[in-house]
Structures are given as C-alpha cells and as structure tokens.
C-alpha cells in the first residue's frame, strides 16, 4: 500500500495574516509559516494504514524553498520520503493551476491512496480532492472522520451535519481527512534525527513537463481587483455582571429588535 500525503505550508493561523500588497498573494515572507494543521491528521492516518498494511508513505508538497520545514516535520512524524515541487513560476497560482501541478507530480509517483487535510487554514477553498479526482480520473472520498482499507476497496465516513455518509470506492483513490479522524503523534527525538537523512526529491515545472506560462499569477483563473482592511467595528458596550447582567443582555437584544 503506497500512500502519498499532500502537505501544504501555510502562515500560522494563530497569528495576524495578510495579503502581500505588491501582488495580493498570501504574504509568506515574514509570516510564521507552519505545516497546515489538518494535514498532520492525514499524515497520521497514512502512517496508521502503513502500519497495518505495509508499504511506503511519500509526502508531496508544492511551495517555495522554505516549505522544506513542513516536509521535515512530516518526515519526522514517520513518513519515508518526500517530493518537493518548487519553481518561481508557481507563485500566485490558483487552486486550478495548483491541481494541475499536483496531478502531474502524482502521475510520476506510485500510489494506491492519496491523502490530504480536508481544508487549508489559509485559502479555505477545500476543493483539492475534487479537482484531483477530476484530473486523475480516480474516486474522491472527501471529509473523512474514519477510513478503512479492505483489499482493493476504501471505505470512508464522510462527516455531515449531525451524522455521516458511508462512502465506498475502488483503489487508487483520494481521501481528505478532518481532525476528528485520529490524534496525530508528536515527532520523537529519534524521528527528528532520522528525518534529516530521509530522501527529499526536488522537482521543477520542467521535470513535470508543465509549461511555466500556464501557472502562476499572470494566468490564474481568477484575479484580485482590490483588497481592503475590514472596517474596524465600533466600540461595543461592555457591562460587568452585578446580578443584573442577564437583564442588561436581554435589554440589549430587545433594543436591537433581536428578540
């Protein structure tokens, strides 16, 4: 069972983030860049499937040279190797262009299962499983809270409002995971040391046979017209409860015609 896990490096969602005013792309320079949190659950799931079934776990990431930090973290959790697609021409690519790059890289890899986090904390577009399924012609099982592989069939519980859908598809397949699926391990000291020696293959667009003019900001399928800071909210009212907090709260709701 060979598994490829897609990993994305994003600006830390716990910090103030912004768009780069020069070209309206996500400001990554100067930001505290970390592995997209939900991807850690996908890595953990891949490691658990490997534990049960054998095989190899490969990390695949598209991103600037600095994305090696995210790759090392993934390797230190226990993944076997990594492929890092990096090329200056990729900067500013939209989801559709990124999916073309990921699909081309996946076609060069040997996989039975492709795993990824259900969303990224920067773009929050959450469509990559659908785009890759469309491009590669293999099934999409997105939003998993549970994953099982039985022979050549993958079964997923797709989280829904107040329940789940039981999905089933033949391998190879693409699965995205929520943070309800497992509890990711912390890298051990041994894992961190071992990660330094694990192979990381760097690939350019040329290596993937992609024409650089088809990706990047200039030919993205959507363009930012302008960006503005959200107007700050007016100063709110803050009261301290002295036995009358509930009354004041309800009074406010009544005054605002909210009840």
């Amino acid at each position: 069972m060979n598994i490829v896990v897609l990993v994305k490096q994003v600006p830390d969602s716990g910090t103030q983030r912004s768009l780069d005013p020069s070209d309206n792309t996500v400001a990554r320079a100067g930001a505290d860049n970390v592995i997209n949190e939900i991807d850690e659950y996908a890595i953990e799931e891949a490691l658990q499937v490997k534990q049960a079934q054998g095989g190899e776990v490969t990390i695949l990431t598209v991103g600037p040279a600095s994305a090696t930090d995210a790759i090392r973290k993934a390797l230190s959790m226990g993944a076997d190797k990594a492929v890092h697609v990096t090329d200056d021409a990729i900067h500013g690519s939209c989801a559709i262009q990124t999916s073309a790059i990921l699909a081309a890289a996946l076609q060069q890899l040997d996989y039975d299962l492709v795993l990824m986090g259900a969303t990224s904390t920067d773009g929050q577009v959450a469509v990559m499983p659908a785009l890759l399924s469309e491009r590669l012609g293999i099934p999409q099982l997105s939003g998993a809270q549970k994953l099982t592989v039985e022979g050549s069939t993958v079964k997923v519980e797709r989280q829904t409002d107040g329940g789940f859908w039981a999905l089933e598809a033949p391998l190879p397949a693409i699965v995205s995971t929520w943070d309800t699926i497992n509890e990711p391990r912390y890298p051990s000291f041994k894992g961190i040391m071992a990660a330094k020696k694990k192979p990381v293959t760097t690939m350019s667009l040329a290596d993937l046979g992609i024409d650089p003019s088809t990706v990047g900001l200039a030919t993205a399928t959507s363009a930012v017209v302008d960006v503005t800071g959200r107007p700050p909210k007016g100063e709110g009212v803050k009261v301290t409860d002295e036995g009358d907090g509930a009354q004041k709260l309800v009074g406010y709701l009544v005054e605002q015609k909210l009840v």
Binding site: S133, D161, W178, A220, A223, V224, R230, G234
Partner: protein, 321 residues
C-alpha cells in the same frame, strides 16, 4: 437577458428548498435571468418548483436519476457541465456547502472556467467579495477564464421573493463511468435535532471551554432554544469532548454569518473568530474581562456564564410567553 444557473440544494429531511438556495437565487439575479437546476433522485423536483419560481427562477431544469444520489458529487457536476455547454450561461451560482464547493471545482475543470468560493456578494459586473484571514481583509476578485462559477456563503444575502415563471425543463441524465466511482452506501443521521442548521441559522449560540463539561452544554442549548437558534461550539469545547465536531465554528470547522451570534465562555482566539467574525451582531459572555472576544462584541457581559445565561434564558422565554 443573459441566463444564470443556480444549483439547488434541498433539505435532506423533507426535500424542501434550503435557505442557502434562496440566497443564491437572490444573489444571482444581479447577473441575469435566473434558472434553477435541480439534480437528484426521481421525483425530487416536484416539491421544490413553486418555491424556486417564487424566488426568481424563470426556468427550473430538472435532472432526475437514481444514480445522482447514489454517487458522490461528480454526477451533479456532470449535469451542470452539460447544461453549461447547452445554454452558455453568464455565470453559475452554487450554495457554499462542502458539496457545493466540490461541484464548483469539478465544474470549473470540465468547462475550462475559474471559480471563487465562499463569496459574500456578487456585483452586476461579476466582481465578487470574499472575506479572508479570519475576517481581517475584504478581497474583490473576478474570474478571468470561461464561465464564472461562484459559491455563496450562507447568510450573506437576504432572500427576496421575485416571482417568475418557473417553467420546468427536463434534462436528460447520462452519467459517465468516471462519475460513478464513489458510491454513497448509507446516509447516517446520528443527532436528530429540531434546531436550525448551523450555517443557515439567523441566530447562533456557541459555547466554549468556559462551559466546562458536556452536561453543561444544556445551558447553551437552553438559551439557543429560547431564541430559536442553532448551537455551535468552539474548538476548545469540541477538543474537550463537550460537543460534536460537526457543530464546531471556526477555522477548522464551520463558517457562520448569522444576524446574532452569542459567544458563551469563548475567549475568541483567531481560530474561532475566523468562523464567526462576519456575524452582524456579536454578544459575548465571559468571566475574563480581557478575553479577546470582547474586542469583537457589540455587547459584552463580564460575568459568570452559569449565572448570566440561565437567567437570560428565563427572561427571554417569559417575554415570548
């Protein structure tokens, strides 16, 4: 006048048209004459047509086949792609649910188009508004390639009736083998609730770490029920096992934009704010006067939630008689 396609989402329980669809019909009118697209199992459109006409659908395309419900996402994208090829619409507008976004992405690839997700507004020239990075910035964007495809964030637009003909147009469904790969074997409902759906609700009451236990969430539910509201939870509350993940509001959960959001025992970390910052009115109850949630709150009560919330619930219930 240009035609604009709107993909219809129905309530799984009773087959009625979801509020997000009425919002999409309303927003789509800025771009042209609206046609609704109903794709689902046999008979699914019957209960929806009148409502769609009431909210501006001049045409209702009806694509019915058992296979549409048997397989995940891909069949709906194929039906829409077929219609896009047939009628060359000015745009496609889809409610921004997980399925809606996935349909949008697939449709974009099938039709060689660009797409924008989670937009809060669409201008007549096709420029869409998105609120990014936990609500910190407002971005205006345009699709530059093909037929613009938008997914519309729930509660961003107020549904307005605009009665139209609602002429039913049957659509021949013939799915490719590729659309029939991921089988939906079962749809399991674990929590039956009479409360409104989180992303659709006009009022949301959320509890956080301060609620302190799963049992205590009955306090949050009590306030929610007195207001006819949905219940939400912060990540801290979900991670502590107080409430299920499908009710989580924030970066790794749902994004909500209700008229009134009441945050109880929630400190207001960026992860949470990302999911609720565009709410119209925000009320917070927290015992820590320095909690960042108060920076967002239009009205804040510094106090013990176990005192304030039950008392407020009682007062609201008695007002409502």
């Amino acid at each position: 006048m240009a035609e604009v396609l709107v993909l219809v989402e129905l309530n799984p329980a009773d087959g009625t048209v979801r509020k997000g669809t009425l919002e999409a019909l309303t927003a789509a009118r800025a771009l042209g004459e609206v046609s609704a697209v109903v794709a689902g199992g046999p008979g699914v459109a019957a209960g929806a047509r009148d409502r769609l006409a009431e909210y501006g659908a001049a045409k209702v395309y009806v694509a019915e086949s058992p296979e549409i419900d048997e397989y995940l996402v891909a069949p709906k994208a194929e039906v829409l792609a077929q219609l896009v090829a047939q009628v060359s619409p000015a745009a496609v507008v889809i409610p921004s649910s997980p399925e809606g976004r996935e349909v949008a992405g697939r449709l974009a690839l099938k039709t060689g188009s660009g797409f924008l997700t989670d937009v809060t507004e669409i201008a007549p020239d096709g420029t869409a508004t998105q609120v990014v990075f936990a609500g910190a910035q407002i971005v205006h964007s345009k699709v530059t390639v093909g037929t613009p495809i938008y997914t519309l964030r729930g509660n961003s637009v107020t549904p307005e009736p605009a009665p139209a003909a609602g002429e039913q147009v049957p659509v021949e469904v013939s799915l490719s083998e590729q659309a029939k790969q991921t089988r939906v074997v079962d749809k399991v409902v674990e929590q039956k609730s009479n409360r409104p759906e989180l992303t659709e609700a006009a009022i949301v009451v959320s509890g956080g770490r301060g609620v302190a236990s799963a049992e205590n969430f009955s306090i949050i539910e009590g306030l929610a029920d007195s207001l006819g509201a949905a219940v939400g939870a912060s990540r801290a509350a979900v991670d502590s096992g107080f409430y299920p993940h499908s009710f989580q509001v924030g970066q790794t959960g749902k994004t909500v934009s209700p008229t009134l959001y009441i945050a109880v025992g929630i400190s207001g970390a960026i992860q949470h704010r990302a999911g609720m910052q565009t709410s119209k009115t925000i009320v917070a109850v927290n015992k820590d006067p320095e909690a960042p949630i108060f920076e967002l709150a239009d009205f804040g009560v510094v106090g013990d939630l176990f005192q304030v919330v039950p008392a407020a619930t009682e007062q609201i219930a008695s007002r409502r008689g």
